[in-house]
């Protein structure tokens, strides 16, 4: 396989990129100045060489420990467990969470061959062993697999009676209209309704 074919094949392996899109991207790159291609290649090589999971939370970082885990202003007693690093960025964007994270690196999915051993549950164990944690927020996705992962973590955390375990609330999207909300979401919203004081 020549380099052009190899590059197309590699692009086509990326999520959401089919072979046609991969070809378009490669031909677009061919029209760019050589320096731009070299910058892209160097960036990819740099990520491969220097980026690795944070030793404490598992999200990608260039240092041994990521900025969030190093930040002394973050609340070490509050831990948010997410499936993927992309979820950290989403929670951070909300600005509503000032604790620390554990990135599992996936969720229980027997159909994909992912069992508890494939997840970074050891990171959660290490956080708990520190003795500072008072609450763990299970922020796995609201899918069947995400819920099963939360069930598993709940069982793991049952061995830590001093730690409060919570789950992200589910319900109506802010700004959403009731008539467009599906029945399952509405059921959750009704079950977890709040009293107005």
């Amino acid at each position: 396989m020549n380099v052009l074919e190899t590059l197309i094949t590699e692009f086509a392996r990326l999520p959401g990129v089919g072979r046609k899109t991969a070809q378009r991207l490669v031909y677009h790159l061919l029209q760019q100045p050589r320096e731009r291609m070299e910058t892209l290649a160097a960036a990819i090589a740099g990520v491969a060489e220097r980026v690795h999971p944070c030793a404490e939370c598992g999200q990608p970082t260039e240092d041994a420990v990521c900025d969030i885990c190093r930040d002394p202003r973050r609340d070490a007693g509050l831990v948010c467990v997410v499936e993927e690093p992309s979820a950290v960025a989403v929670v951070e964007r909300s600005g509503a969470f000032r604790g620390r994270y554990v990135v599992l690196g996936g969720r229980l999915s027997p159909l994909d061959g992912i069992g508890p051993d494939a997840l970074r549950i050891d990171l959660l164990g290490r956080r708990l062993a520190g003795g500072d944690v008072r609450e763990v927020i299970l922020a796995t996705n609201s899918s069947l697999e995400g819920e099963a992962t939360a069930t598993y973590l709940q069982q793991v955390l049952a061995g830590h009676p001093g730690v409060r375990v919570s789950r992200l609330a589910r319900g109506l999207p802010v700004g959403g209209e009731l008539e467009y909300v599906d029945g399952v979401t509405l059921t959750h919203a009704l079950t977890a309704r709040e009293e107005l004081r």
Binding site: P15, G16, G18, L108, S109, P110, L111, D112, G113, G115, S142, S143, L144, E145, G146, E147, A148, A150, T151, Y152, Q155, P173, G176, Y180, V181, D182, G183, V184, T185
Partner: protein
């Protein structure tokens, strides 16, 4: 099925992300067997699919058949049940995932109303079974699926020469597809089942019979036997959910 829009009861057997915001779903449908369909925009927060396309969700699929491929378009999915109770117990979740995997791999894209109704019913049973019955309910569900696929073992007589079998221990031939009489049993590789194991297997296979009481060890042995049966008759060795369920301790 190409051309006309279709409405059929369906169960989501699995899905994978496609492009930025879509999903490709595998559906067990009542009228068209297992089909693949693209649910465009399913990952968007305000998607019309909402929470409907979760694993083992049950509903009515509106399918727009493709004229050129076997990937259809899922226009809508009217949710009937999500079976979220499966996620609150890992044994239920593992068993239901294994059932979905076997159905995905081996149910053909043709109508089999009895198979669909059985599958739907069994997912519900696995979700609602008392905790100590999950293992046997799941074993029966798997055997029922295999029987509906036309690959169930012959246990009422010798599979080779059709003679009736005396009570007691019996030889099971995976290759030949059932119990063998004493005269036939010496002629090939068999698995010997003691009287209780034989009775338990017969009970698991017969949906009108009372479910057997199995210890953890017995249940594990029955799961291993079932997996060997699937490998022998359906010929696919890469089934992570089935293997994970088979290796489970309970």
């Amino acid at each position: 099925m190409a051309g006309t829009p279709l409405l059929t009861p369906a169960i989501v057997l699995g899905s994978l992300r496609y492009a930025e915001s879509s999903r490709i779903v595998r559906l067990a449908t009542r009228e068209y067997g297992v089909q693949s369909a693209i649910a465009k925009g399913a990952l968007r927060p305000r998607s019309r699919f909402g929470a409907a396309l979760q694993l083992l969700s049950e509903g009515h699929a509106h399918l727009l058949p493709s004229r050129s491929s076997d990937l259809h378009t899922l226009v809508a999915f009217d949710l009937v049940a999500t079976h979220s109770g499966l996620a609150r117990n890992l044994e239920r979740f593992g068993a239901a995932s294994a059932l979905a995997e076997v159905a995905t791999r081996f149910v053909p894209p043709v109508a089999n109303l009895a198979l669909y109704d059985q599958l739907r019913h069994d997912v519900e049973l696995i979700e609602l079974a008392p905790p100590d019955a999950i293992r046997v309910v799941a074993l029966r569900a798997m055997w029922r699926l295999i029987i509906e696929l036309g690959l169930g073992p012959t246990v009422s007589r010798c599979v080779r020469d059709a003679v009736s079998l005396p009570a007691g221990a019996v030889a099971l031939s995976l290759r030949e597809g059932g119990f063998l009489c004493a005269a036939c049993a010496g002629l090939g590789a068999t698995t010997r089942l003691g009287p209780q194991d034989r009775a338990d297997l017969v009970a698991l296979l017969g949906s009108h019979l009372e479910l057997p009481l199995l210890t953890d060890r017995q249940a594990a042995a029955h799961r291993r036997l079932l997996v060997r049966w699937i490998w022998e008759h359906l010929g696919d060795t890469s089934m992570p959910a089935l293997e994970s369920w088979s290796a489970a301790r309970s």
